[in-house]
Symmetry: C2
DNA sequence: TGCACGGCTGAACGCACATTCAGCGGGCTG
DNA sequence: CAGCCCGCTGAATGTGCGTTCAGCCGTGCA
């Protein structure tokens, strides 16, 4: 609870949910925990979102909209990416279109750059997206090797490996 | 349930647990589901392993022992790797030593190969391990781009990116 | 001033799940 | 043959969680 002090309760709940779900997973976090984070009652959560499922859908929509807009790697972006990574690991059936969308975007970016050709650009893009999301899903571990949640640094290390390759 | 028809019930339960936990996560799979997969009662699971926690620890030990031995990417290996990936995503506190061990091994392998030097080999190794595990954690999505669970192919695509880099 | 409405709470309900327990059957040992 | 251990089951228990519900309080509108 650093920011979002002045937000409406609804927005506070959504933010807390994104953070908690990204941290502890969907099956792993009770509504009550999210409510406590947002300093509201559990009843209010369902009052605003209908059910836990409804809350999850609202989080998805928020995260997708956020990811659409934000190209830059900004502060809140990392939390949203962590949420998305967790969602794709834990709820793969639901999030298939989202993953595909990220792959398509990555493929396009690759095509527009001077990346070398490959037999299957779509497969390469899929692997790249999985690698990036994997970094977010395992950020607790990477945080022990880089500064705590120093995504800038991690991202730099990743892209250095990817652009230069392991061997010179 | 393809193999392990002739195993003891205890081994069948363990195998089913590794598969289910890797597939649906720890919080996401009831003991009853594992028992059904192994064609035993839920009571027997706790009879053999004491508790769900005990079962998880047994799975961890089994997976670690398995990963120690198997260098090759064989059939059952993928299921174990998928289990480990899921464990590290969902139970990061418990699995920190395991991740570190994989990083150390990766770092050593890199040092013994002709990989180019980097400012921090340990960080590079950590990122590589995270990337590989990420592929397993997101295998449901990658499976839509490669053959269903065609890890050979995925692994090849990954290492091609890593060795050659994205740009020529 | 009175009234309706929306945000919000705490208690109550029901369910799914982990865990406990009493007991059954079959093979082994005395 | 008798007794016992052990793998195994099904029912019972307790609990955490999602959801429902009756009602409170403050604000804006008549």
């Amino acid at each position: 609870m650093r920011f979002s002090e002045d937000l409406t309760a609804r927005a506070r709940i959504r933010d807390a949910a994104v953070r908690r779900f990204g941290l502890d997973g969907f099956a792993g976090t009770p509504i009550k925990r999210i409510a406590a984070d947002a300093r509201v009652s559990a009843g209010l959560v369902v009052h605003h979102f209908g059910s836990k499922q409804g809350l999850i859908e609202a989080c998805d929509a928020y995260a997708i909209a956020f990811a659409e807009v934000a190209e830059q790697r900004t502060e809140g972006n990392h939390e949203v990416l962590a949420y998305l990574a967790r969602a794709m690991v834990e709820r793969s059936a639901d999030t298939a279109p989202l993953f595909d969308q990220m792959v398509a975007r990555s493929e396009q970016a690759l095509a527009e750059s001077e990346a070398r050709d490959t037999t299957d650009p779509k497969q390469r893009a899929a692997v790249l997206v999985a690698m990036e999301l994997g970094g977010y899903a395992l950020r607790a571990h990477l945080g022990r090797y880089f500064g705590e949640a120093d995504f800038e640094h991690i991202g730099r290390a990743m892209s250095e490996i990817l652009t230069k390759g392991l061997y010179s």
